[in-house]
Structure formats: structure tokens, C-alpha cells
């Protein structure tokens, strides 16, 4: 397992969290408000990418449905606050509950399969969510989406919201790190390596996969709620396939099975999108070349490659 190198730095999450807190904590003091909003977006998508990395890096299952789970939470909280006029805090709970339920429904279909079948099932389920959001227009607003009613006063200020996002994302980064290094997390690695051996050791592998998928849906849902507060707008593009793909690519670029690599992957992709799109409309091409480069020179992702370098020197 990647997180078990001989260097103790790779074992303790606190050093990484401290570095992240320092970097992201200082950023708003140095950059413009527009750039701070990009940093804010990087944090939110890092949480989505981490939730995908739990399945991809530990259980060995590549999900293309987590964007839809993320977007479900965004839809629910915006519908609740803007169309029904409900409290945003109750909306948070409803949205996260909706994401968890959606993930549980996905899990019922996906928990028994692995490999390409897992990819296809999560892809198909995500497409269904997207289709419903697009067509059920009297609720979702169809292609026009729904405009939110703004953030609650207490987090309305962009600085405050940025630091709240930072705190929430770092807290859940820690929780996710503990989760994958727990006995349950190790059982996911076991399922990745040999499901038949796991069963003959007494593990109900289907139940483990169901729980793992549903719990990652919880993390995606939190990211979706943050995104609703951040973007104040939701449309079918929030739940579409490219959202899931982007989250997965962030996890891959950062380093599958490293958890904290998600921050690097999210930063790399969102920065490229924002910087390169200023110069050329063909920025997806540049992004494509970056992926090819990473797959050739650092197939374990940025953090994965750094980790390998560090452990090799010993």
C-alpha cells in the first residue's frame, strides 16, 4: 500500500494538514479576491476528489458517478432555500442526507461488481441523475437551472466563507485519512487485492463495499453543499458526467491512493482551466496533453511520484 513507506512523514497526516493549512491559510492575504475564489473552488473539488480516491485508491474501484452524488446535494440545498424558502442549515442536512441516499442507491447496484463493470454502472447511474435534472424542469428548472438565494449572512463575506471552506475541507481530509487507515479501510485494500480470500476470511465483501460507497457519498455531499454556497447556482452541468470525470482526474493527477494528492490534482486542473483559458479557447487540449504527460512520466500521480522519490532515497 502506498501510504506505508518507511518515512514517518507519510504515516502522519498532521504534517500534510499543517502544510495545507499554512498555504491555503496565507493565500487570501496575498492574492486578489477573484483569485481567492479560485482557491476556494480548489478546496471544494479537492474534497470531491478525496471521496473518489477512497474507492479508486483503496477499494480499487473507479467511480464515474460521484459527480452526480455531489450535484444531488447542490440541487437539494438550492431548491430547498431558493424555491421553498427553507433554512439553509436544515438545507445542509437535507442535502447531505440526499447525497447519502443517492450513494446508497448507487451502491446497491455497484457493490457486487468491480473493474469495467463498476465503471459502467456508476457511469450509467450518473447519467440517469443528469437526465432527470435536465428533463424534470418544473422542479429542477431544466437547462436553466436554479439560482440560489445567496449564502446565510454569517458566511456571506468571501473571506469568512473561504476560511469556513478551508476548515471543513481540512477536517474531512483528516477524517478520510483516518477512515482509509482504519481496520475498515484495510479491508477495502483486501477486497481490491482478493475478494475470494476476503470472503473465506469471514468478510461480507458486499456489505463492506456498500458501506464504503455510501460513506464516500457522504463526503461528496459535503463538497456539493459547499459548492452550492460557493456558486449560488445549479444546473444539469453540475451533475453531468464531466463533473465525475474531473473529480476522478484530480484524484489521478494528484496520486491515486494518497488522499492528500487530491489537493494537488484539484489545484493543477482548476488553475490550468483558469489560466490557460485566458489565452486560448482550446484549453481542454492543453489539459489533455498534461494528462498524457502525467501518465507517461508520473503514472502514480504528483504526490505518488514524490513519495516514491522520497522513499527511494533511503
Amino acid at each position: 500500500m502506498m501510504a506505508m513507506g518507511p518515512l514517518s512523514i507519510w504515516r502522519s497526516p498532521l504534517i500534510f494538514l499543517a502544510i495545507l493549512a499554512a498555504i491555503f491559510g496565507v493565500l487570501p492575504l496575498l492574492i486578489s479576491q477573484y483569485r481567492m475564489s479560485i482557491a476556494n473552488e480548489i478546496l471544494i473539488f479537492a474534497l470531491l476528489a478525496m471521496s473518489i480516491d477512497v474507492l479508486a485508491g483503496y477499494a480499487g474501484r473507479t467511480s464515474l458517478g460521484h459527480g452526480a452524488i455531489f450535484g444531488t446535494a447542490t440541487y437539494v440545498i438550492i431548491y430547498w432555500t431558493a424555491n421553498l424558502g427553507g433554512s439553509p442549515w436544515i438545507g445542509c442536512l437535507l442535502a447531505i442526507a440526499a447525497a447519502v441516499l443517492m450513494a446508497a442507491a448507487f451502491a446497491l447496484f455497484a457493490m457486487r461488481v468491480s473493474g469495467v463493470y463498476f465503471v459502467l454502472i456508476t457511469l450509467a447511474l450518473g447519467m440517469i441523475v443528469w437526465g432527470v435534472c435536465l428533463r424534470w424542469s418544473n422542479v429542477t428548472g431544466g437547462e436553466n437551472g436554479i439560482r440560489g438565494s445567496g449564502r446565510p449572512d454569517i458566511i456571506a463575506d468571501p473571506f469568512v466563507f473561504y476560511y469556513v471552506t478551508l476548515a471543513v475541507v481540512l477536517f474531512f481530509a483528516f477524517v478520510i485519512w483516518r477512515f482509509v487507515h482504519s481496520p475498515f479501510g484495510l479491508s477495502l485494500c483486501g477486497i481490491r487485492d482478493s475478494e475470494s480470500r476476503m470472503r473465506s476470511l469471514g468478510y461480507g465483501t458486499t456489505l463492506h463495499m456498500f458501506l464504503a460507497f455510501t460513506i464516500t457519498g457522504f463526503f461528496s455531499g459535503i463538497a456539493g453543499v459547499l459548492y452550492a454556497f460557493f456558486n449560488n447556482f445549479v444546473s444539469p452541468s453540475t451533475v453531468e458526467l464531466s463533473q465525475s470525470v474531473e473529480g476522478l482526474l484530480m484524484a489521478i493527477v494528484g496520486g491515486v491512493g494518497t488522499i492528500f494528492g487530491a489537493f494537488l490534482g484539484s489545484a493543477a486542473i482548476i488553475l490550468l482551466e483558469n489560466v490557460v483559458s485566458q489565452y486560448t479557447a482550446r484549453w481542454p487540449m492543453v489539459l489533455g496533453f498534461m494528462f498524457i504527460g502525467i501518465m507517461i512520466f508520473a503514472p502514480q500521480g504528483i504526490l505518488g511520484a514524490l513519495k516514491r522519490q522520497a522513499t527511494r532515497k533511503l
Binding site: 506505508m4 485494500c189 482478493s194 475470494s196 468478510y203 461480507g204
Partner: protein, 252 residues
């Protein structure tokens, strides 16, 4: 009845028209050392799979310590105290020996559901792992990744993982397959040093090794029971000799 650990009644495992195991019945007493022998394709591993729940038996009844387990899934049977090794090495290759042992140890308990606790072993678990590794002669290899173990060591780890949860029935599927003579001797020693109250059923091709280790032998051929008896009886049995050494059959 209370003396029998494992009881098979008319077990059939069919894959379409092929009966891989055809009407096999046997009783293994508590603490017994039993060997299942037979030529390739005799149905030995399929019978193991039926006992452990990897494949469901098509018909027949399997009882373990008096309880009918015929319809239980593999993981429930493991939690009841049935443990096995695999003929084709089936470990967690990207994990270390210690992590393999952790997974093996916790499969039968409830700590496997701990989601925020540390994966590290508590001292009681550590002792259990240490004693299983010592029994399997792997004591100094805890931190090594499975892919870096020699094939022989991987076979030893197979046994250690099957032992660590303190099963009451141990099924060894060709534990010495592919090993050098020195390593075979080690496997023999390991099986010899297993606790006396542990019931052991093993599949093995090496007749010399089998006959030294067990109290009783069951010989399968073409999925059917061919002969049963003590090692001496089996060695002298004409049918067994024909199957192993070859004989012009009437329909050949």
C-alpha cells in the same frame, strides 16, 4: 455425532451436465488429520469449495459441529471457525505480511467495522499474529510486502493466515504444491505442530508426505468416492493403485 467435526452427506456439485463432485459422503472426527487424495480433476478442490462455501453444493447436506451449513455463504462459514488455504496462492499482494495477518485475524471479529480507529494491532492481537507467524516460520518477515516474498514463504503465509483466527476446522489445499524438498519438509513440520484439537483436512498429491501426516485417507476419482481407509490400507488398495499408476480400463 458430537464427536464429528465435519459431516458430508451425498454431496453433489454439478456444473451443467458435469458432476465435479458426485455423491460424496464422509465424516471427519474432531481433531482428526484427514487427507483427500486423487488424480487431477478428481474433484478435490471442488469439494473444498463446497465445504467452505466458495461454490454451493448442488445437493446434499454439509454439517459442521452439528449445524447444517449447506446454504450459508462463505463468510458465515469462516466466522463459524472454518478456515482454508488456497491451492493457487491467494494473498493480498500489495500489502505487507503484517497487513495480510491483520486482515486474516479480524475477519471473524467485529473490529473489521471500525472506521476511525487505528489499524494497528492491540497487544493481544499482536501475540496471536506472532504465534501464527512463528508456527509458520515467518516470524522475522512482518514488514515485507507479499510480492517480495519467495514462493515458499507465500505458501507459509497462506497457512499462517488460515491459522491466526484460531479456526476449529482447517482445510489445506495442496500446501506443499510447487515447493522444494526442503520446503516440503518445513510444511510437513508445520502441519505436525498444529494444535491437537484442530481438525485438519488436507489435499495433497505427494503420497509419501500424506501418509506420514494423517490418520485417515479419502481417495476421490472422477468426483466419486473411490476408497477410504488408514494410510496403510490405502497404500495397499488395488483400486487406488490402478488410479494412480494406470491400468488398461475395459472401456479405454
Amino acid at each position: 455425532m458430537s464427536e464429528s467435526a465435519l459431516n458430508l452427506e451425498n454431496i453433489v456439485v454439478a456444473f451443467g451436465a458435469l458432476k465435479a463432485v458426485d455423491n460424496v459422503s464422509m465424516t471427519v472426527k474432531r481433531g482428526e488429520r484427514r487427507a483427500i487424495i486423487g488424480p487431477n480433476g478428481a474433484g478435490k478442490t471442488t469439494l473444498f469449495n463446497a465445504i467452505t462455501g466458495v461454490t454451493r453444493s448442488t445437493s446434499g447436506r454439509i454439517t459442521f459441529e452439528g449445524l447444517d451449513i449447506s446454504r450459508k455463504p462463505a463468510q458465515s462459514r469462516a466466522r463459524m471457525g472454518i478456515s482454508r488455504t488456497f491451492q493457487i496462492t491467494n494473498l493480498f499482494p500489495s500489502l505487507t505480511v503484517e497487513q495480510n495477518m491483520q486482515l486474516a485475524l479480524r475477519g471473524t471479529g467485529s473490529r473489521k467495522f471500525s472506521m476511525l480507529g487505528s489499524a494497528r494491532l492491540v497487544s493481544e492481537e499482536r501475540e496471536q499474529v506472532a504465534s501464527a507467524l512463528a508456527l509458520s516460520r515467518l516470524a522475522t518477515r512482518e514488514a515485507v510486502e507479499v510480492t517480495e516474498l519467495s514462493y515458499g514463504e507465500q505458501r507459509q503465509l497462506e497457512i499462517a493466515m488460515a491459522l491466526v483466527s484460531r479456526p476449529r476446522l482447517l482445510l489445506l489445499d495442496e500446501p506443499a504444491a510447487g515447493l522444494s524438498p526442503a520446503e516440503r519438509q518445513m510444511v510437513t513440520d508445520i502441519v505436525r505442530s498444529l494444535p491437537k484439537d484442530l481438525t485438519v483436512v488436507l489435499i495433497e498429491h505427494d503420497m509419501e508426505l500424506v501418509l506420514k501426516l494423517v490418520d485417515y485417507v479419502t481417495c476421490l476419482n472422477n468426483g466419486q468416492m473411490l476408497a477410504e481407509g488408514s494410510p496403510e490400507e490405502i497404500r495397499a488398495n488395488q483400486l487406488v493403485q490402478d488410479v494412480y499408476l494406470g491400468k488398461a480400463r475395459a472401456n479405454a
